[in-house]
């Protein structure tokens, strides 16, 4: 039988971003997949040569429009640990709240895209309508819907008043209750179960072997979550990572749906535990130039993100490297795509929640 090579992407109806994959087919079965990244490579890591470390945080935020808050946070946390800056307590709690809200936002966005990919236009619209409410919260509290720029090295730029925090919590809990109806459709609809159930199974052993991260690994039964290491005040929160065992496309959907509830609960705990009052300190400004290096790990909506920052005592960093969760999940994706039917490729690719902007930086 002849082998056929089919280019999947950069333009494809299910792809929100230009992933490029050369699929090598035997009949309808995929036998190999060769990724090419670089279609939207912007060389942001290279910009440390020109952009001073104080401004680089705003560049880092622009790595990706969905996890922009956590990219900014990761950069600031890295510089803070190099420069030995203590973040004021309220600022650290605010970061945690924003981070969890952005996780809800990202999961809703992805669920919508996933629904669109398997042909449920209506679910797509419901998910994105709810996501819009989260973006409104961001706009109200940070001034920006997508790019927030509230993180500074040493703290955060803006406060959220206590009454506003309570209102946000009520809004999130209302959204969580309303989401239950959407989640019921995802969980019980027979056509969704037919399209996603049993498709693209990543076993626990394979998930370990390909070093999968985030919801991808948790859907395969691995209890892995960078929040468990307790950095950035997560040690003061009681939570258990959402783990599913089936490892198929449906399990990856279910993990993300359950994480929305988990994140709302984390926000509730954070608002409960944070110091209350007006005019609390939000920022400890660092002095001088950074010198040293650090690896920082955070749990982004898509999984573990890793930053390596090396500073040499000048205004410009020597090296900034972001290893984003999608980059870590590409080997898993290639593993899943091999051996599947061509018609299942779009769903498998989407369920890793690929963020190509993040991957290509």
């Amino acid at each position: 039988m002849r082998r056929t090579t089919i280019p999947f992407g950069p333009q494809h109806p299910v792809l929100p971003e230009p992933l490029v994959l050369d699929l090598i087919l035997m009949d309808e079965k995929v036998v190999d997949a060769v990724p090419t990244i670089g279609y939207i490579h912007r060389g942001l890591e290279m910009m440390v040569e020109r952009v001073e470390y104080t401004e680089m945080g705003f560049v880092v935020e622009r790595i990706c429009g969905i996890c922009s808050f956590m990219h900014g946070m990761g950069y600031c946390v890295s510089l803070e640990s190099i420069m030995n800056v203590e973040v004021p307590e309220r600022a650290a709690w605010l970061r945690l709240i924003w981070a969890e809200i952005s996780r809800i936002q990202s999961h809703l966005l992805w669920l919508g895209l996933g629904a669109d990919a398997f042909g449920f236009e209506n679910l797509f619209m419901h998910c994105w309508r709810m996501r819009e409410q989260i973006l409104d919260i961001f706009e109200k509290t940070t001034g920006g819907r997508i790019i927030h720029s509230v993180n500074r090295i040493g703290g955060v730029k803006r406060d959220i008043s206590d009454s506003e925090l309570d209102a946000i919590l009520v809004q999130l809990q209302t959204l969580g209750a309303a989401f239950k109806e959407t989640a019921r459709v995802f969980g019980t609809d027979p056509s969704i179960a037919h399209r996603l159930g049993g498709v693209g199974i990543l076993s626990k052993v394979d998930a370990l072997a390909v070093d999968a991260v985030g919801p991808m690994a948790r859907a395969s039964g691995l209890r892995t979550d960078t929040r468990l290491i307790g950095a950035n005040y997560y040690d003061r929160i009681e939570f258990e990572p959402v783990v599913e065992t089936a490892g198929d496309c449906l399990a990856r959907v279910v993990v993300r749906m359950r994480e929305i509830d988990a994140s709302i609960d984390i926000v509730r705990q954070a608002i409960d535990k944070m110091p209350k009052g007006e005019g609390l300190p939000l920022e400890n400004r660092p002095r001088g130039n950074p010198l040293g290096e650090v690896f920082t790990r955070l749990e982004q909506p898509r999984g573990e993100v890793l930053y390596y920052v090396k500073a040499n005592g000048t205004k410009n960093l020597e090296r900034f490297r972001a290893r984003t969760p999608t980059f870590a999940n590409i080997p898993a994706m290639i593993k899943l795509v091999k051996g599947c039917d061509l018609a299942d490729v779009p769903n498998i690719i989407l369920t890793i929640d690929p963020c190509i902007s993040c991957t290509e930086r």
């Binding site: 990724p35 670089g38 070093d211 410009n316």
Partner: protein
């Protein structure tokens, strides 16, 4: 670097159930005293004094003067980072540009992506990658954007742009 000893350490991490979190490369460049100011001055100090200096041939007439950073072959710092639960460890190596680096992809399947990346972006000669993408992973305007020569050219361009207005 000692490839056998290095691979033995990597194998230990693999057997203990660690996850490969990142392979990071830093192009070690000479530190210029102040950003923008006198950037073009050739009085640069080598950033890493421990850089393995190439053996200077004894018969060379210039043997008395140590090679300036511009002439010495560039140095790369490579870190293999491993994660297991809350723990995080790295193996660090310094290599001279052109040196061969053994692939760890036989132990950690996901390593092929990092290794193809550092080969294309840094020009590091990684040998034995299980999935060899043959330079197809990135399509960049500069062929090897993080090589010493490419970074030097960009820094010089930044410095030249900084002095232009005066």
């Amino acid at each position: 670097m000692d490839a056998t000893a290095f691979l033995a350490r990597v194998e230990d991490y693999h057997k203990d159930g660690w996850r490969l979190a990142l392979i990071n490369v830093t192009t070690v460049m000479p530190v210029v005293a102040a950003h923008g100011a006198a950037a073009a001055a050739p009085t640069a100090v080598p950033a890493v004094p421990a850089a393995p200096a190439p053996a200077v041939p004894a018969e060379s007439a210039e043997a008395a003067t140590p090679p300036t950073p511009a002439e010495a072959p560039g140095v790369f710092e490579i870190a293999w980072a491993f994660a297991k639960d809350g723990k995080f460890e790295t193996i660090r190596e310094q290599i001279v540009a052109g040196d061969a680096v053994p692939s760890v992809s036989e132990f950690f399947g996901a390593a092929f992506l990092y290794e193809n990346e550092i080969r294309e972006l840094f020009g590091i000669n990684v040998v034995g990658i299980v999935v060899d993408l043959k330079g197809q992973l990135y399509q960049t305007a500069t062929k090897v954007p993080f090589s010493h020569a490419a970074i030097k050219a960009r820094l010089a361009a930044v410095a030249a742009a900084a002095v232009k207005p005066s």
